[in-house]
Amino acid sequence: MKKTADVYRLSLQSKFVLTFTSVVALTGFVWPFFYVGNLHWIFVIAIAASALLLVSEIGIGSIDAKSIALLGVMSAFITLLRPLGAGAAGLEPIWFALIIAARVFGPSWGFLLGITSMTTSALLTGGVGPWLAYQIFAAGWIGLLAGALPQKFAGRLIRGAAEKVLLIAFGIVASFAFGILMDLQFWPWVLGSNTQLSYIPGGALSENLSRFITFHFASSMAWDIPRAILTSILIVLTATPFLRALRRTYFKAAFLTPIEFKESARTVS
């Protein structure tokens, strides 16, 4: 039976492109542990190209007008939230909105929201640079995973307090993961080559890993913890009305509602 368009879902081809570009991007984050030479600029370019490839792949796929409209409104909302926190000390009031919206509209749409909102908000805060492509992927993955959180547990819908707890737990994990990813992306370059915590090109994996972890704990935990706390607080405060409003939108947008065209009643009867 015919139905109205669904909320955006990645096509098989898009899933393939997403997986491929994600592997490129992930490699871009972790190669310093495995490779001796300097691939930094290669990956800056490769990741930016991957992001473009992904966006154009999704762009030529069919996104329904309603999903586009939702995406536009939510991206604009998140873009406006971002300057409120100025990014200082990890106080980024955007993650809760991304997580809650992705929870309602699903992983594919959540991924899109992550990349569009990170891009548009970067334009507003002036944060455009080599790091942007890394941030785009990180935000996209957070949206994707938030959308993929289980809707049911033991046959029952996860709603109310349980849902809040789930979202907070995910918010905390995402806040730390984002910090780690962003650190990975610049740790090899930021310290120079001769400190206790510096990256050793070609060094043993265990050595580099322990240096990275120490570096991360020493420098960026001060960012991750406030980010996690702020995200949790905002989820606690806004989840109930925000989820309710978005679910209502979902219902009102009439995704996947059956359409039936019949012969006129007169000719049938």
């Binding site: 009439a254 509602t257 359409i259 065209f261």
Partner: protein, 540 residues
């Protein structure tokens, strides 16, 4: 141009048939008006034309609809975009860009027009809709009528053959409405455009319509010329009610026609007016009030008194200072100059329950006051806030809107039900002053008469002071004792409704225009007046 062939429609999650076996044909170059009570399916009918229903909403559609030979069941709304222009109820919701020129170009950009074509069309539309002087203006700074013209313009740049408008003039003042309608009239006559328009305020559009589609509550619809439809339709403008009440042979659609038919009735009309102003105690006292927003002066040295048991209508153009006056009285801001006392207290200092019991304010968009997810929860909160026994707000609401669904989300209610809900929430704390900004926007005649009854009984029986800002002269004629007319921040007229409305031809209600110079504003006034003058009750 548009053909409906035995069309029936059922929405998903509903058993209610919106239309049943609807058939009609609209010819090229016709202007067709769609009328019906709120919720009867006017908007659904309009959206069926370009396929938004059911392609976007889902539902079961039987029968076929074709526009210019294209069937809407086979073509998605996007494929009809070049053929059908649609203008929504609130133009501000549809704008996507900042300036007038960009907004006009946007649709063409999306359809990939060549740049030189776009340039030419933009110029053409700017001239056609007299928007040339506004081309670089930011849309948010335009008046309601201008915004509506921009919305029509951005639909017209695609050179559609059909233009569909959902209540284009409901939110406009009479002059801006006239401006929009005369442009539609010109488009129909000069360009042969087919226009389908729905509207509640029939008195405004009736003169322009070639035919009317009247949808009744049971999903049946009739299409015919206005004179025929209006003979029996329960939804009719005041002049039609007047013609019926006076037992005239035919109903007229314009003031001129009805005036010609009633010459014999005006011969013996008394020319004295017997109006008098209320003599209650002063509730709101405004003394040399001034207010400005930055450079712009909104109110200039205004002194007014509003008394208990009196309904005052504040009229004037958009931007004349009506909303600023109300916000000052409510106490949203401290006025830049002058003083306001509501029952002896500066409204800025009112707090908590004392505020609830003193001032009730209903803003232009009543749903701004609704924050809960169901009617029931709104009512429960109001009970708690006002210290009433649980259920009393809902009981009050049930009297205003007996069919209201307790569980419904406030935003899913019809405009009339939503206004009833907000009225119930505000009135159950029995405020001494009730202030309403543009209460009749989007209301049909039925909801309006409910509003009139509620306001009149609140003010007469409970002796409360009621202030309304409105463009709706027919409402003013029905409900108000006194009219204050603002222009450019000054009070230019203040007096009894009769005196003020009769002194300005543009703002006179239809019945007054027909019966002028007799001092009658409503059908009721006219009947009573004629009965008195002829010394017998000849008309009942």
């Amino acid at each position: 141009m548009i053909t409906f062939n035995s069309v029936s429609l059922i929405y998903p999650h509903s058993l209610h048939t919106v239309f049943e076996d609807l058939s009609f044909t609209i010819d090229e170059g016709e202007m067709v008006l769609v009328i019906g009570a709120t919720g009867s399916g006017k908007s659904s009918l309009l959206r069926l034309i370009n396929g938004l229903v059911p392609h976007h909403t889902g539902g079961i559609l039987a029968g076929d609809i074709s526009v210019d030979g294209i069937s809407t069941s086979l073509t998605k709304p996007g494929g009809l975009a070049h053929l059908i222009g649609i203008v929504g109820q609130n133009p501000a919701h549809g704008f996507v860009t900042d300036t007038v020129e960009e907004e006009l170009v946007f649709g063409m950009e999306a359809l990939n027009f060549a740049p030189d074509v776009m340039r030419k069309r933009v110029e053409e539309i700017l001239d056609l809709l007299s928007l040339a002087h506004l081309r670089a203006r930011s849309i948010s700074t335009l008046s309601g009528g201008e915004q509506q013209r921009v919305a029509i313009g951005s639909a017209l740049v695609m050179h559609p053959k059909v233009l569909v408008l959902d209540e284009p003039t409901s939110a406009l003042d009479p002059i801006a409405a006239e401006e929009v309608l005369s442009i539609l009239h010109r488009l129909v006559h000069d360009l042969g455009l087919t226009v389908v328009v729905s509207e509640h305020k029939l008195e405004r559009v009736i003169g322009f319509a070639d035919r009317i589609i009247a949808i009744s509550a049971d999903g049946k619809a009739e299409i015919d010329i206005p004179e025929e439809i209006l003979k029996k339709s329960p939804i009719a403008p005041p002049i039609v009610h007047l013609a019926r009440a006076l037992n005239l042979d035919a109903v007229g659609t314009s003031v001129r026609e009805v005036r010609r038919m009633t010459t014999h009735l005006r011969d013996f009309a008394p020319l004295v007016s017997d109006s008098q102003l209320a003599t209650g105690k002063t509730v709101v006292w405004v003394d040399s009030l001034s207010h400005s927003y930055g450079e712009k002066v909104a109110l200039r040295n205004i002194s007014l008194e509003f008394k208990s048991g009196e309904i005052t209508a504040v009229m004037g153009r958009n931007g004349a200072g009506k909303s600023t006056l109300f916000k000052s009285i409510v106490g949203f801001h401290k006025a830049s100059g002058g003083q306001i006392k509501v029952l002896g207290t500066d409204p800025v200092e009112l707090r908590g329950r004392q505020r609830l019991a003193t001032i009730g304010y209903i803003p232009q968009e009543p749903s701004d006051l609704l924050i809960h997810s169901s009617v029931e929860k709104e009512c429960a909160e109001s009970d708690q806030d006002n210290g009433l026994t649980p259920g009393s707000t809902f009981a009050f609401l049930a009297r205003l809107a007996p069919t209201i669904n307790r569980q419904a989300h406030p935003r899913d209610l019809s405009e009339g039900q939503r206004l009833s809900l907000v009225l119930a929430l505000i009135l159950c704390s029995a405020p001494d002053v009730l202030i309403m900004d543009e209460p009749t926007r989007g209301l049909d005649y039925q909801a309006k008469s409910l509003l009139v009854d509620t306001l009149v009984s609140y003010s007469r029986n409970l002796g409360k002071c009621v202030l309304i800002a409105t463009h709706d002269v027919e409402l003013v004629a029905e409900v108000a004792d006194r009219v204050v007319f603002l222009a450019d921040g000054d009070v230019v007229a203040d007096g009894s409704t009769l005196d003020v409305l009769l002194s300005s031809p543009a703002f006179a209600p239809q019945v007054a225009k027909v019966m002028s110079p007799a001092p009658w504003l409503t059908v009721k006034d006219a009947l009573r007046g004629i009965a008195q003058a002829t010394g017998k009750d000849s008309l009942s």
